[in-house]
C-alpha cells in the first residue's frame, strides 16, 4: 500500500516540486524494463539463464507497431496482443530449446536475440532496415462510449501519462508475480530449479511447467517492448538488441535471484545509476562498472540479500 501511494502520488509530487521532469521518462523506462526483467527473473526461477528477452521485447514492439500503423488497431489492444504473440512464439521456440540447461540455454537465447534483429532486418512487414517511424501516440480507450483513457495526443503532459501507464502495469506485473511465486506453481518451479529429475520423479510435468514459465516470461517482454514503441513512436531492428538482453539479466542479478522484487530493485539501481552518473562524462562507464564490481564483491547474492527488506522475507 505504501508502495502504491509512493509511485502514484509521492513520485509525481516530488518531480513536480523539484522540477526534474526528465525523471518521468527515466522512471517510465525503469518500470517497463523491470517488467521485462521480471520475465527474465521467472526463467531464472526455473533454473534457466535467459539472455534472450530482447528478442521478445523487439517482437512485441514490432507487433504493436505493425498493427497500429498498418491495420489501425487501437494501441491499447496491441499491448495484450503483443504479449500473447510473444507467449505463443516462445512456446514454439521454447519447446526445443528449454531442454537445454546452464550456459547452453544462455547461449542459445543470446543467439535468439541476434536472430530477432536479423529477422526484423529481413522481413518486408517490419519494413526492414528503415524501421517503422511516425507511429501515432496512443489513442482514446473507451468502453461503451465511456472514456477510460483519453487520447494521448490531446494530453498536456504525455510524459506523465506514460509514467502512469508504465507503473500501473509494473504494479500489476509484480503483484501477479508475487501471487505466482507463492502459488503451487511457484513451489513447483522452485523444485525445478533445485533438481529437475527429482521434480519429474514426483510426478511434476516439467515440460509443461517450463514452457508455461517461459511463455509468461516472454509475455512480459512483449508488453514492455510494445509500450516503448509508443513512447519513441518508432521502432528499428536495433531497438532491442543483445546489450538489452544482457542488461535484463544484470537487473535480475543485481536485485537478487531469490527475491520476487529483485528485478524491480535491480532495474532501479542499474538504470538510475547509469543516469545519475551522466555528470561524470567520459568516466561514466568506468565508475559505473567499478560500482557493479564492488556490488558483486560485497553482495554477490543481490541487493535484497542484505535483508534490509525484511518484510519481504517474512511474507514468503
Amino acid at each position: 500500500m505504501i508502495f502504491f501511494i509512493g509511485v502514484f502520488v509521492l513520485v509525481p509530487w516530488l518531480i513536480e516540486m523539484s522540477g526534474r521532469w526528465d525523471y518521468y521518462y527515466t522512471l517510465t523506462s525503469v518500470a517497463l524494463l523491470s517488467i521485462a526483467s521480471a520475465g527474465v527473473w521467472l526463467t531464472f526461477y526455473i533454473g534457466r539463464i535467459n539472455i534472450g528477452q530482447g528478442a521478445y521485447a523487439l517482437a512485441g514492439g514490432y507487433l504493436s507497431a505493425v498493427l497500429v500503423t498498418q491495420y489501425e488497431v487501437s494501441f491499447w489492444l496491441t499491448i495484450p496482443l503483443a504479449g500473447l504473440f510473444c507467449a505463443v512464439l516462445s512456446m514454439l521456440i521454447g519447446l526445443p530449446i528449454l531442454r537445454l540447461k546452464g550456459v547452453y540455454f544462455a547461449m542459445i537465447t543470446l543467439v535468439l536475440t541476434e536472430v530477432a534483429k536479423l529477422t526484423a532486418l529481413a522481413l518486408p512487414i517490419t519494413n526492414g532496415a528503415k524501421g517503422i517511424v511516425s507511429i501515432p501516440l496512443p489513442g482514446e480507450l473507451s468502453v461503451f462510449g465511456m472514456t477510460i483513457i483519453p487520447d494521448f495526443s490531446t494530453l498536456e503532459n504525455v510524459k506523465l501519462a506514460f509514467y502512469y501507464l508504465a507503473v500501473t502495469l509494473m504494479v500489476i506485473c509484480f503483484a501477479g508475480m508475487y501471487r505466482l511465486v507463492n502459488s503451487r506453481m511457484g513451489h513447483l518451479c522452485r523444485s525445478l530449479q533445485q533438481n529437475e529429475e527429482l521434480a519429474s520423479s514426483i510426478g511434476v510435468n516439467i515440460t509443461t511447467l517450463r514452457i508455461t514459465a517461459y511463455a509468461i516470461s516472454s509475455f512480459l517482454g512483449g508488453v514492455g517492448g510494445s509500450i516503448f514503441v509508443a513512447i519513441s513512436q518508432s521502432i528499428y531492428p536495433t531497438s532491442f538488441q543483445v546489450a538489452d538482453s544482457i542488461n535484463f539479466m544484470l537487473n535480475v542479478f543485481v536485485g537478487g535471484l531469490g527475491y520476487v522484487f529483485g528485478p524491480m530493485l535491480g532495474t532501479v539501481v542499474i538504470y538510475f545509476g547509469w543516469d545519475l552518473l551522466f555528470q561524470t562524462g567520459k568516466f561514466q562507464l568506468l565508475i559505473y562498472s567499478s560500482i557493479l564490481i564492488l556490488l558483486m564483491l560485497t553482495v554477490p547474492n543481490g541487493l535484497l540479500s542484505l535483508r534490509l527488506f525484511k518484510w519481504n522475507k517474512e511474507k514468503k
Partner: protein
C-alpha cells in the same frame, strides 16, 4: 525585414555596451568572469564499437567551444556568453537517446547535436518536438526532415546527395561503368546502400552486385569480399562504412586482387586508413569537409591545433563535424531572439547566411535541403570529395548541395 533591423540594432547596442565595458574595466585587466553560460547539447554514441562517430562529434564541439571561450565568449544580442557543451552518451541505444534528449530538455537546452544513427534520431523526435529542441542528427532518413517533422536539421551531406555526385564524376572522368555495393547488415548502411544503388542506376551505371553484406563484428573481410572481387567491377562502393571497417575491407579487396576504384560516402580518417591498409588504401575516395591543407583556412588549422592539444590526436571525421556548433552559434547571432525560442530559429533558417570561416573561397553557411526535403532542414556543408594518398587526403572535387 524586422529580424534584420532588429539584429542590426542589437549589434549596435551590443558594441556600444562592450565599448562601455572596456572603458570601465581599463584598470582591471583580468575580466574573465561574468559571461553568461549558453549550453549546447550533444546526444550521441561515445562508447562501444561506433564510439568513433560520436566522440569526433563531441570533441569537435568541445574544441570549437574552447576557442570561442578563449576569445572572450560569443556575443549574441547584447549578452556575451561562454559556451558549455553538455554531452550524453546514448550507447547507440534509441531508448537511451530518448533519456538523453530528456536530460537536455531538463537543462533547458534548445539546440542539440546528434544522435549519430537512424534509430536514435527517429526515437528522440517526440521528445524534441514536445520540448522545443532543435536537433542536428547525423542520420539520413528523409522522414526526419520532411514535413510534418520540423525540429531536425541534417548535420551533414546525405549519401543520396553525395553519391550521385561522386558516381557521375567517376563515370565522366574515370570511365566507370560497372559498380558493386557492400554494406554492413545494419539499418543505416543498408538504407544508404539502397539509395546508392538507385543513384547509380539513375546515372546509367550497371550495378553488378548489391546483396553482399557483413556483420558489424566481422574481423576478416576476405570471405565477404570474394564474390565481388571475382566480378571485378569498375567501382566498389562501401555504403555507410564505419571508419573502423573501411581499411580492413580495402586491404582484403586489394590483397585478393581487386583492381577497380573504391569509394564511400562517409567521412574517414587518414591515420586510420594509413595504419589499417597502408599504401593499399591509395586511391580510396571518401567525403570530407574542410579536409585538405589546400582548401582549409587558418581558422580551420587553429581548430585542428586546438583539438589536437585538447585530446592528443585529431580525427579527420571532424572536418565535417566542425560545422554544427558553428551553425548554431552563427544563427543565434543572426537572431538573438532564437536563444530561447526555436520558432525564431526556424524563421531565421530560411534567410540565414554567413561566411564559411573554415574553407577558402566564397562558400557561405546557409540552410539547404529544398530539393531533398521540401524545407530548409540541412546544413550546407561543402561536399568535398577526397582521395587518399600515402597517409593524406587530396581534394578530388568540391560541390555544393542545394
Amino acid at each position: 525585414m524586422f529580424v534584420n533591423s532588429f539584429s542590426k540594432y542589437a549589434g549596435l547596442k551590443a558594441s556600444l555596451m562592450t565599448a562601455a565595458l572596456a572603458l570601465t574595466s581599463v584598470h582591471s585587466p583580468i575580466t574573465l568572469a561574468a559571461n553568461e553560460v549558453l549550453k549546447i547539447g550533444f546526444v550521441g554514441v561515445t562508447s562501444g564499437p561506433a564510439a568513433s562517430w560520436g566522440i569526433s562529434n563531441q570533441r569537435s564541439m568541445e574544441a570549437g567551444a574552447a576557442i570561442i571561450n578563449d576569445n572572450g565568449g560569443v556575443k549574441i544580442g547584447s549578452v556575451t556568453y561562454d559556451l558549455e557543451i553538455v554531452s550524453f552518451d546514448d550507447q547507440k541505444d534509441p531508448k537511451r537517446a530518448i533519456a538523453g534528449m530528456e536530460k537536455m530538455a531538463q537543462e533547458n537546452i534548445h539546440y542539440v547535436v546528434g544522435p549519430n544513427v537512424d534509430d536514435g534520431a527517429a526515437a528522440v523526435r517526440p521528445v524534441a518536438e514536445q520540448n522545443d529542441i532543435i536537433y542536428f542528427p547525423y542520420a539520413f532518413p528523409k522522414s526526419l526532415y520532411q514535413k510534418p517533422a520540423s525540429n531536425a536539421v541534417l548535420g551533414m551531406v546525405a549519401n543520396y546527395q553525395s553519391g550521385p555526385a561522386i558516381y557521375k564524376f567517376l563515370k565522366d572522368n574515370n570511365g566507370v561503368n560497372t559498380v558493386a555495393f557492400i554494406a554492413a547488415n545494419e539499418s543505416d548502411p543498408l538504407t544508404q546502400r539502397e539509395s546508392g544503388v538507385a543513384a547509380a542506376e539513375a546515372l546509367g551505371l550497371k550495378v553488378v552486385s548489391k546483396t553482399v553484406t557483413y556483420q558489424v563484428d566481422t574481423t576478416d573481410f576476405s570471405p565477404v569480399i570474394i564474390p565481388i572481387v571475382k566480378l571485378q567491377p569498375d567501382l566498389l562502393v562501401l555504403s555507410g562504412v564505419a571508419p573502423a571497417n573501411a581499411p580492413q575491407i580495402i586491404r582484403s579487396a586489394r590483397e585478393l586482387g581487386f583492381k577497380g576504384l573504391i569509394s564511400t560516402e562517409t567521412g574517414q580518417d587518414a591515420q586510420v586508413l594509413q595504419e589499417g591498409a597502408g599504401s593499399l588504401a591509395n586511391g580510396f575516395i571518401s567525403v570530407g569537409g574542410a579536409s585538405t591543407p589546400t582548401i582549409r583556412t587558418k581558422n580551420m588549422e587553429a581548430f585542428i591545433a586546438r583539438y589536437t592539444e585538447m585530446f592528443g590526436e585529431y580525427n579527420d571525421e571532424s572536418n565535417t563535424k566542425v560545422y554544427a556548433l558553428e551553425y548554431i552559434v552563427e544563427t543565434l547571432k543572426a537572431n538573438p531572439a532564437a536563444i530561447n525560442n526555436v520558432d525564431e530559429f526556424k524563421k531565421t533558417m530560411d534567410t540565414f547566411s554567413a561566411p564559411n570561416q573554415y574553407l577558402k573561397g566564397d562558400q557561405v553557411l546557409r540552410y539547404v535541403g529544398m530539393s531533398s526535403f521540401g524545407q530548409r532542414r540541412q546544413l550546407s556543408i561543402p561536399l568535398v570529395v577526397n582521395v587518399y594518398n600515402e597517409g593524406k587526403f587530396e581534394t578530388l572535387f568540391i560541390a555544393e548541395v542545394d
